[in-house]
Symmetry: C2
Amino acid sequence: MAQRFVSERNLKFLLYEVFDAECLVRYPYFSDHSRDTFDMVLGTAMKLGEEILYPAFQEMDRKPPEYADGAVRVHPSVKAYMRASGEGGWINAMHPYDAGGQQLPYMVFSACGFIFCAANYSLSVYPVLTAGAAHLIETFGSEELKRAFVKNMHAGKWQGTMALTEPDAGSSLADITTTAEPADGYYRIRGQKIFISAGAHDGVENVVHLMLARIKGAPAGVKGISLFVVPQRRINDDGMLVFNDVTCAGIYHKLGYRGAPITQLAMGDNDDCRGFLVGEANRGLAYMFQMMNEARIDVGLSAAAIASAAYYAALEYAKERPQGRKATEKDPTKPQAPIIEHADVKRMLLFQRSVIEGAFSLILQLARYTDMCRVTDGAERERCELLVDLLTPIAKSYPAEMGIHAVSQGMQCLGGYGYCDEFPLEQYYRDARIHPIHEGTTGIQGMDLLGRKVVMKNGKAMALYFDEVRSTIQSASGDDALSACADELEAALKTLEDVTAHLAGIAMKGEIELFLADATLYLELFGIIAIAWQWLAQARVARKALQGNPSESDSNFYNGKLAAFRFFFAYELPRIAGLARRLRNSDGLTVAMKTEYFED
Amino acid sequence: MAQRFVSERNLKFLLYEVFDAECLVRYPYFSDHSRDTFDMVLGTAMKLGEEILYPAFQEMDRKPPEYADGAVRVHPSVKAYMRASGEGGWINAMHPYDAGGQQLPYMVFSACGFIFCAANYSLSVYPVLTAGAAHLIETFGSEELKRAFVKNMHAGKWQGTMALTEPDAGSSLADITTTAEPADGYYRIRGQKIFISAGAHDGVENVVHLMLARIKGAPAGVKGISLFVVPQRRINDDGMLVFNDVTCAGIYHKLGYRGAPITQLAMGDNDDCRGFLVGEANRGLAYMFQMMNEARIDVGLSAAAIASAAYYAALEYAKERPQGRKATEKDPTKPQAPIIEHADVKRMLLFQRSVIEGAFSLILQLARYTDMCRVTDGAERERCELLVDLLTPIAKSYPAEMGIHAVSQGMQCLGGYGYCDEFPLEQYYRDARIHPIHEGTTGIQGMDLLGRKVVMKNGKAMALYFDEVRSTIQSASGDDALSACADELEAALKTLEDVTAHLAGIAMKGEIELFLADATLYLELFGIIAIAWQWLAQARVARKALQGNPSESDSNFYNGKLAAFRFFFAYELPRIAGLARRLRNSDGLTVAMKTEYFED
């Protein structure tokens, strides 16, 4: 049996009790679904997690992809899982029936994604990348492109990728230099890409790159970037797959996340690489942002999921490992206590839980907004879209950054064993560290939040967000057990308003560098408050449930929820005081720091 | 040439300008030394670091120790470095001439240790462990034991270890079960030890374990623990080294720190393991604490040193890597800027520097107290001893915990490359993670600080510590550029006093579990303030130096110091607000948390 990596009880609590996923089935778009179909989908996901994903978790790390002569050999589970994902309809599950999908709510799909990532993050990414790439073609591509590529991608036969980064353009997409020269019905592509996840491997027949490049003569910077489909192998006139002059030049050896090959690609070495324009020329970055935003939320989900797996490994150890005695027990002949009885260990476990369940709740909150976008229009739809836009950098970065600390505390629960590879914590610790880096570093997310999202549409998204949080505060403030925390959240919101106004004042004076200098801290402050909001919402549900005479096991679950909620407000929310203090002090310390002062 | 891993300029700044190491030579004990001999020692350490340690840094990680049939094969550098350490007098450098040492100040030796650990942490531990073990024999052992073991240990021919941990007694030494049965001039040892660093390897002729065991019939708990010398091979009547029935049963495969074998040992499988009692029976734990306290400070030093190496790798990258443009530069045809010009990257670099140089300053502060213990007596000596005792858990845990964050921020500066093994950051990230675990976890350090050190002798050490910090505050408050920070440090001290009094009140009521429940947070709060103290002391020196028309390069150095100082006060010290808020709220949240609430 697989070690436990996720709590189905918690997933269902969030889906049904907090976010009322069932309410969606009242809308025609989701009307074929029901709680039963959702449960069935979750059950299937658990089965996949336990039978295909988790069993390969450790081995894919110990035997990472191998590169030789342009080919990348991956673990056999990749082929099996891509096939299972295709056959099970997972790659296209959220899309409309007429695009071959199942119109599954994003909320339910996110819960499944959480299971997959917790079971084996490296393996989980292959179909997810494919889904994102296929979705780009579906949304912006011509009918011909759709016919040529999407079906095999949805079937799990062809891998999809997101090919952005170049040797001299990582975080700075304005500087990509891959070129596209118009030819007869296609573009001739030349250039290099690096850090392309699953950019070549033998678990599929073909790899389809959704690639950014510049059409010759296009404007400099981001306004001259176009999006192309660049397959590793193209279909020739006889309907055969032939080499398309996309070569894998190597793979990276990484700290973790080792089951997925991160590749370097060279296009057009033989001047025979064909790419196919997606949508209009020079609009590539806007198109790609659709995939990037999905990918960013998915990073947050993955980070929380890895931390979940680490938490359950730590919890199991803490329950079974006897060590030491309570501070009040001085008799050394008494048996040792399981370490879960030590307050400091409980603190570490509650910390993990408060991060993981708070973060995943925020992910589901965004999924709920996304689902509502499909079934509403006009102002309500715009509201949901704006909230997703605003909260995407938080949903990416809070789990990414705090997930590392959660995993680290999980490792700490195991002491020396946590550092050794006979337990899985050390692998989770390595795997988790990718998340603040890929799909836009935490620094980039901070600038996106403060420099773009907070100020967009004159702060409309922010205003909508405050309304959302205040609505939760109001609904909780009638409960005596929650009202103190509701007040604290209101005070935190005021702090956020205050800090935002202070920073906006700097922006108004045109001091843009100073305005953005501590954007990473602003992101952290914003994130802590967003998670406090999610905990208050969960606590309200748990309180109500406890009033309804729950079973003993339900009662334990809800009491655990309330403990994690109180923990977050007692230990985590107070951290905003230090952050706010710094953010209010715009002394320009880092802006003014001269490069030569780093010399000595 | 080795990549840079340490700043000699900073080491000398701290040694000579902040801590006035030269003043020691006025005392007879250190009177053979001078600034010249100190500089020569430092130069030799740099040479060792660059020529022996750093060149093996990566390879020892990639080719970790191999275990087969009871033997452990280590990298050939181990033998070379142990020999060099013995021949160079490093293993015994700090000890008196009559014990074969060089009477080198601990301050100077610490600076050398920092160089060694930064160059190659795994390799650095072999002689350090040997020194600690030999020192235990010298301090508490009989003349016969000294004659039999110490010389070969000081020569680097025999490895020393600290053999405490057992399968069922990690953090709980009260529960060790290894037994010692009196025999003819020795004790017959039976038992198992785990996680013993360098417990067996082929880089030396013999391994000498300083081992805790219970003499048959001894009282239960820590009062029945005795200390033994248990060599892997003993000298027989013919003066030959013969097997002493200590078997290495295996080694651990670890996240990092891979160059040093962490072993499992079995003693007395053939009923022929001889151990030799050190000092008196049942006083073993008190003796061992000498070595543990040294080892704990050494962990802090190592953690800061690894972070130093990571910092210089990140700094070098940041200076050379062009990526993006300033927020104010909208023209994409302009060349990209080196990332060190981005405020967020400067923030990450200053963070690292503020942690590393603040932490190592505290280590040297303790080294200075230790040196003063050798040349003073009476009240002054007691004062220095108490300050070392009080601050040891801080000197261990602050660098251990914050060093991880510093290394992680270094990795973040490199983006995707930081995650790949073509740069050294990923190895530093793995290596650094051991420090909050070994030589007493952070949780143990917190309980040691709050439950033992703060309250010892009616709070005498605390009072002495406050005097020390306030003396620094007073000397800085006359400088207009420092007085605001001096005031902030005074306010922080008041917060610490306040929190301590609150917790002491709980202890007085006998609620010991509640008193200690957040000891880890208390440790963190205490640590941040201690590092702020060290930064204020450094800033005062830098300010004075800048007033004396320094050279351009000195001016850059001192201005960099002031920037890191201001950074610490602006970004790190404010974190105490959130910690204090939690510590003042003794709601017993974790104490009350029931184990069954973790079920779901």
